[in-house]
């Protein structure tokens, strides 16, 4: 059962990833990315990461993707012209990226896995175990992310402010 679930989710994720690259309209790319995120959340559940699964659906598929959809709705449907200044650039980049995939595949064959630590799988990945790690060992980085979010919020507000023409006031 777990193997079947993994392969269905993996195939859906790869198809969604292909859709992100192939579709010409941005809104279809965003919807393909939602498919990728939902199938990845299923795989997180297989890897006994319940809290990450919930966060993936709520924050990613919920908030971030809706933000993308809002911006696309705001800007209107922009189609790609499909021509560039450097025509060979596309094929060259595909070539390099396939080489990168081959490199990662070769590296995967030689990975030396460490034997797992002793852990209780009924406790591993629950909200409680995440919270214990987040509020003891990683308290400092966790507090720093709040500053990161504050900076991002201030930056977004600054960028989307109304332009006041300086010439009008003088």
């Amino acid at each position: 059962m777990a193997i079947a679930v993994f392969f269905v989710a993996a195939i859906l994720a790869v198809l969604g990833g292909l859709g992100v690259v192939v579709f010409h309209q941005p809104i279809r790319s965003v919807l393909s990315l939602v498919v990728v995120m939902l199938s990845l959340s299923v795989i997180f559940l297989l890897l006994s990461a319940q809290f990450v699964f919930a966060v993936q659906i709520i924050v990613y598929a919920g908030a971030v993707m809706v933000l993308f959809l809002f911006v696309i709705a705001l800007l209107g449907p922009a189609r790609e012209l499909g021509r560039g200044r450097l025509r060979f650039q596309g094929w060259l980049s595909v070539l390099f990226v396939v080489a990168l995939l081959g490199l990662m595949w070769a590296l995967l064959q030689g990975v030396q896995y460490r034997s797992p630590e002793k852990a209780d799988l009924s406790f591993f990945g629950t909200v409680q175990s995440i919270a214990v790690g987040l509020f003891t060992t990683f308290l400092y980085p966790f507090e720093l992310t709040s500053i990161l979010l504050l900076v991002a919020a201030i930056g977004a507000i600054y960028l989307s402010r109304k332009r006041i023409d300086i010439d009008d006031e003088t």
Binding site: M1, G17, V20, F68, E80, P116, F138
Partner: protein, 109 residues
């Protein structure tokens, strides 16, 4: 080779890592080939998700919770990146219509 026992069945850890590598590569193709700045941002999100999958897979293989914590941190960074990137894009689009990312190569309004 390292097998994970999930629901009584044996899944290999390298399957998850291979899926992560494929998704990362697809995102990289999107960044390099696509010309719409919005789609490039979407492809970056795809690459971040692929990295998250690798983190969570290693976390499960080592039975160490720190990988999942790092995945949560990278989700925070991805959300912040999406907000700032989209704000910059909306600001640019307000001034002029950008159909091609090469139009922005001068870095001026």
């Amino acid at each position: 080779m390292s097998t994970l026992n999930i629901g009584g069945e044996q899944l290999d850890a390298s399957w998850f890592l291979l899926l992560s590598a494929i998704l990362f590569v697809l995102g990289a193709v999107g960044v390099l080939v696509r010309r719409n700045p919005l789609v490039i941002l979407i492809s970056i999100e795809l690459m971040l998700n692929a990295a998250n999958l690798a983190l969570v897979a290693f976390s499960r293989q080592l039975l160490n919770i720190e990988g999942q914590l790092f995945a949560l941190m990278s989700m925070t960074v991805a959300a912040a990146e999406a907000v700032v990137g989209l704000a910059i894009l909306v600001d640019i689009f307000r001034v002029r219509d950008v159909e091609d990312i090469d139009d922005l190569s001068e870095l001026r309004g």
